[in-house]
Symmetry: C2
Subunit: 231 residues, 2 copies
């Protein structure tokens, strides 16, 4: 089932290209629906194609030998997944799991190579995207090395606000995704119990409002202050 070529223009990699240039990519593309909890690909799987998130939320997750999992990245609509590793023909060091029902485009790696050779801007866009991921990873290494848990949870919340935050009344921001304590723990390098205690404390201070699998941030400035207080 081919996808609409317009879908391919709603992302940072191919946006500047003409419809004609993208037609071949769209023709061989395949649409795929994922339900919450379903995996797009598993850890250590060979990457023969790559993916573009059209709608929903997908997380890249790495499992340890002891069964714990760590969220490496949270992707929303418009973000490509595993394109770097697909282009060089190596498996990505993690799996991809939908944390909301999602729509995905499955795309051909070989055709992207054709685009790369024809349009230098595509190379530039890919490098920019990868640079962003690398910068994000480096920042998380610094945070995990030097900052305390509360600060890291606050950072995870701020990142989620950027991704899926939608303003509600009085300057509050609601996170438009199902988000368990365990999810937040896997983004912050801590345990679900500590996340629970921290969020409860924030709720008592009036910074956030917790519902089951939902989080509303009442005072972003306070969350930012927690981050800047360091630790």
């Amino acid at each position: 089932m081919p996808i609409d070529v317009a879908m391919l223009q709603n992302n940072a990699l191919f946006k500047p290209l003409s419809v004609e240039a993208l037609q071949k990519l769209a023709d061989t593309a395949e649409a795929r629906s994922l339900e919450r909890g379903e995996f797009l690909f598993h850890q250590n799987a060979e990457q023969q194609s790559f993916w573009l998130v059209l709608k929903g939320v997908v997380r890249l997750v790495q499992m340890t030998t002891s069964g714990k999992s760590i969220t490496l990245h949270t992707a929303i609509g418009g973000e490509p997944l595993a394109i770097l590793f697909a282009l060089i023909g190596e498996p990505f060091s993690g799996g991809a799991e939908a944390i909301e029902d999602s729509e995905i485009a499955v795309l051909s790696t070989a055709l992207v190579w054709e685009l790369i050779e024809a349009y230098p801007v595509v190379t530039l866009n890919i490098l920019k995207m990868v640079a962003g991921r690398l910068r994000e990873a480096h920042n998380r290494i610094r945070e995990l090395s030097t900052e305390d848990v509360e600060c890291r949870i606050a950072r995870a919340v701020l990142r989620l606000i950027d991704k899926v935050g939608t303003p509600t009344k009085h300057g509050a921001v609601q996170l438009e995704m199902r988000l368990t304590r365990q999810d937040l723990a896997e983004m912050s390098g801590t345990t679900l119990e500590t996340v629970s205690r921290t969020l409860k404390a924030w709720e008592r201070m009036g910074i956030v409002q917790c519902h089951r699998e939902k989080l509303t941030v009442l005072h972003i400035a306070e969350v930012t202050r927690i981050v800047e207080a360091g630790g």
Copy 2:
């Protein structure tokens, strides 16, 4: 002071290219010597060129606002530095400090773009290099999130063995670089005191032998076992 074109072939990015193809790059290149402790570039500096380590050891380091520093990557001869960020014209999120006297080639970013457009294999090589860095970063995030300090120090030692380990007699391996407890701490996300205690414990167990700023690993298998024991 231009550099010898042969120097440019001793790395993973440009190795397969002909001398002719690299001549322009070599002509505009500049050689630079760094003494131990000297910075090649500082955090948040604009990147107009990029660098190739010819000889020595250079580490990419990120400083926190509170003055702590974290080693993001340790580069040896043949490795490019900051090329990704130079190509897209953004500052790299860290600085580069020589931890041994080093020889560096300063290279033109614009000419690399010409190589990229002329030779697809250069794009592939750059993507492979970046993928390696990203995988390394992801692994460190997992380690910092889930593993205990001893395990992470062991991993840092194993990584250094790959980089600068040279076999001595009886299967022992010496790390050919000056390496303080502080250096190891910044690679493992811990403190110099903890590193000191850990190394002393390993020395008592006969796993390593410590000298001032030097480390010899007597039984790599034991270090590997510590890593695999997890934590």
